[in-house]
């Protein structure tokens, strides 16, 4: 009934400069990942702005078989509960989001639960008398996850009671969440404008490797950049609106030098970002109205500090990646060894002009949508790798770039923007989770 892999096998699979192909295609490795990584790490569930009112809930899967509910109770506390009736195990809610008025009610036999998951009522309860059933036993509640914490509205949950507290786990990468929120003149962000879900027919790790893989855009996205440039070239001089629309695509053609300059910063537990001082999105226009609001809120210096901290993708390994300068996030939801879904959500910076939200949504639509002009080519190369890695024509995936040349700091590691530091960072964490070295 169980074919998990041994701890000893793990160390052979992840070496200093190469990974074994089985990481991507082996079902038992996937199952083990679901237990030891996704079943232990802090996983992003949702944002409190999605559930502003009492009883509002949204749902998510922490692992493919761990559906949970994020809900706000009558005292405005938020809870992350397993979406499972304590009676005979029925999933309590089926929709992505909604509002629970009064109490949860299981659709099978009508057990009801408060917003915090505690049992409220069992219909015809007298049948349990003198049977050894203890109605007050906690096992009769909808179960909370092992731990949940909220940081500036970002709700994370873990299935491990041993996980360190959320801030410790985030480490230095927390500055990216701070930066995102600080980009609001009010210091607060809210999710708005719905969600895109993009089904990927490949292993979940491909997208994490791709986020800060700066060697790929020049190749994978060459066609769309050429197309945009070709179109721009065809425009009459006065077509400024068209030109500026088309320019949203150009950063994907940034040179290797540009990318090298942006640098990569890695943290414990696999988190990392590229950029910092600069990123490929550093040149997007700053709207006057926004600059004014920011300066009013923070003063010139602090404003400049905030806006000049420019990261491209920040990964909170393994589930959440943030584009601070764009104000969107992507969330990874694994499904099978060769299937996962990416959710793209947009943030509104409170107090910022609507035009910024419009740009965020435009970016999501053109770049991250399954019907965009960037995501599908990334997906295509993942598919190619998913198929190619089954082949006996090779055993390994290599990641030597700038190996041995990273700089260690007390709380982080930094390296060149075209290095494989992002790979080294995440696979160090992968190995530690999988071999049980981090926490149980």
């Amino acid at each position: 009934m169980n074919n998990r892999i041994d701890f000893e096998e793990i160390s052979d699979l992840v070496q200093a400069t190469k990974l074994h192909k089985s990481l991507y295609v082996d079902e038992s490795i996937f199952k083990t990942e679901m237990e030891r990584i996704w079943g232990k790490a802090w996983i992003y569930v949702g944002h409190t702005s999605q559930i502003p009112n009492v009883g509002d809930y949204c749902t998510a899967n922490i692992t493919p078989s761990t559906p949970v509910i994020l809900i706000r109770d009558k005292k405005a506390c938020v809870h992350v509960l397993h979406n499972r009736c304590a009676h005979k195990g029925a999933k309590i809610v089926e929709k992505d989001r909604g509002t629970i008025r009064g109490a949860f009610r299981c659709p099978y036999h009508g057990w009801s639960y408060r917003h915090d998951g505690t049992l409220l009522r069992i219909p015809n309860e007298s049948g349990y008398e003198d049977t050894g059933f203890i109605i007050s036993d906690e096992c009769n509640n909808m179960q909370p996850v092992a731990k949940m914490e909220v940081y500036r509205g970002f709700v994370f949950a873990t299935l491990s009671t041993e996980a360190p507290d959320l801030k410790t786990w985030m480490g230095g990468a927390i500055t990216c969440i701070d930066n995102l929120c600080d980009r609001s003149p009010e210091g607060e962000v809210e999710i708005t404008g719905g969600v895109l879900r993009y089904e990927h027919n490949c292993n979940w790790k491909f997208i994490l490797e791709n986020l800060n893989d700066t060697m790929h855009p020049m190749v994978v996205h060459q066609a769309v950049v050429q197309s945009a440039m070709d179109y721009i070239g065809s425009l009459p001089e006065e077509a400024t609106r068209e030109r500026s629309l088309a320019e949203i695509i150009l950063p994907f053609g940034s040179s290797y030098e540009n990318f090298e300059d942006s640098g990569i910063t890695g943290f414990k537990y696999g988190h990392h970002y590229d950029g910092g001082k600069t990123s490929i999105h550093a040149n997007y226009e700053v709207f006057d109205e926004y600059r004014e609001a920011m300066e009013n809120a923070y003063g010139l210096n602090r404003m400049n500090e905030i806006l000049s901290f420019n990261t491209h993708n920040t990964l909170f390994y393994p589930s959440l990646t943030i584009k601070t300068a764009i104000q969107n996030i992507r969330v990874i939801r694994p499904i099978a060894v060769d299937k996962f879904v990416v959710e793209t959500w947009a943030f509104k910076l409170k107090g910022a002009p609507d035009a910024m939200l419009h740009r965020t949504l435009q970016y999501s639509r053109l770049i991250n949508s399954s019907a965009g002009m960037v995501g599908p080519d990334d997906h295509e190369v993942y598919l190619r790798a998913q198929e190619g890695l089954k082949s006996p024509g090779g055993e390994w995936v290599e990641f030597h770039r700038q190996y041995g040349q990273d700089t260690e700091h007390p709380d982080r590691t930094t390296g060149g923007g075209t290095s494989d530091l992002d790979m080294r960072t995440q696979y160090k964490a992968w190995k530690e989770y999988m071999s049980g070295e981090i926490f149980q």
Partner: protein, 159 residues
Amino acid sequence: MSVDLEETIRKFLYLEAELLDRADLEKWIDLYTDDGTYWMPAAEGQSDPMNHISHIYDDRTMMEIRRRYLANPRTSSAEVPVRTSHIIGNFRNLEKTKKNHVEIRSNFQVSMWYRNSLRFYAGEYVHQLKEADGGLLIKHKRVNLINPEAAQRSITIYI
């Protein structure tokens, strides 16, 4: 509204579908007005393309880029061709919306062959058309999938 006009519109939409099926986006774009837009919302009954995410919301600028992009030999997601067949039916609710403008609804089913598998898209079209020079142009095309909120696989065509 005359039966003749509706028949003309049907033919026009069949032509539009044929150009999509033939992947002739150059001619397809020419069916749109200069300020024409193509919208595939990402939510049932979505009211707004600006403040809510969509799968696609292209003006002619984006159509022009996308057309070049899909035809570019370096577009790896297009190395294997996408083949489609559109069926449009259940034309209804033809109405004049303003001078020289009409709107019509129809249902569609698109069968797609891509990367060795068959896929299906279904839903409702809303076409806003403009009469010009005795012919028709598309002012706005809205594609209401039956599952706009669903997780979608890569969509490398206009539907």
